[in-house]
Symmetry: C2
DNA sequence: ATAATTTATATCGCGCACGATTTAATCGCG
DNA sequence: CGCGATTAAATCGTGCGCGATATAAATTAT
């Protein structure tokens, strides 16, 4: 009977995750504005900097996103001259995304971004790494649980 | 020189937060579909269940959102018959959002949602509470850091 | 009291997320 | 080999987030 009265925002882990995500976005915004990227676009670039010439599906599997989100986003990166998109010769269903020279050189221009963000977190590195690992575990459990 | 090679997605705390947020959304979706709410709409309802007749600004300060996001969202809740919106008599700038009977009764229909989500997390309650507290602290630090 | 400033909401445009559907290429099975 | 099933992208519609701007009410300063 008193159960329903106990539901507050602060108790919801999902809300902490949700609101922290927005807070990160607000930190990233001015940093990424300088290189002309949105946060999701930055993530795609990070994935490509890590390994060039990936398929849309491959990029999506790392970001937990699908082509309905990625196709328009990557087209914007293409328009910005950061990547190229071309059908895979061996499997014409797939589109391979490759960095341009401009896309590669952007990595240097954005090199200080992660450090700025870490600083804004105001935590020591060990706690940060620990939190990161716990969240990744939680995400995997939730993805597992979703059908 | 080897620094740039070390930037991987897994190391980015922001990405763990970002992807965990999406994962939560995927868990919530089928649960909230049953009561006809989106996740942000659910959060507004939680805030109103906690305290009825709040202003848009008041709701926003709890959710870290502003009127540009909330006004259309709350209008949808109004269209759904869950809340009413009316100008405050004492300060006509403010809009006060109040639950309808239908909006109040929705709390019972959604009463099992938090429990289902906690279960999907696959963590014991202590760890969950601890993670929640750490994230809230991080969010507050980030909000502090953003000008 | 009137003007300048601040505050609360609303509006608009853009870029995600994502469910649903479409199209085209590949695979698998008889 | 051929044909149904699967797979990869793309497209479309809806609802956030949010920067920028607008409008109107209240507050402050002069």
């Amino acid at each position: 009977m008193a159960d329903k009265l106990k539901l507050t925002l602060d108790q919801l882990l999902c809300f902490s995750v949700y609101s922290t995500g927005h807070a990160f976005n607000r930190i990233y915004k001015p940093l990424l504005d300088k290189v002309g990227l949105t946060y999701p676009q930055y993530l795609v670039m990070v994935v490509l900097w890590q390994e060039d010439r990936q398929t849309v599906r491959g990029i999506g599997s790392k970001l937990f996103l699908e082509s309905n989100t990625l196709t328009p986003l990557i087209k914007r990166l293409e328009t910005a001259g950061l990547v190229t998109r071309e059908r895979d010769r061996d499997d014409e269903r797939q589109v391979r995304v490759a960095l341009t020279n401009q896309g590669r050189s952007l990595q240097d221009q954005a090199a200080d971004v992660p450090g700025c963000v870490v600083e804004a977190c105001g935590m020591n590195l060990d706690d940060l790494v620990d939190l990161n690992r716990k969240l990744a575990r939680l995400r995997n459990a939730l993805e597992q649980s979703a059908p």
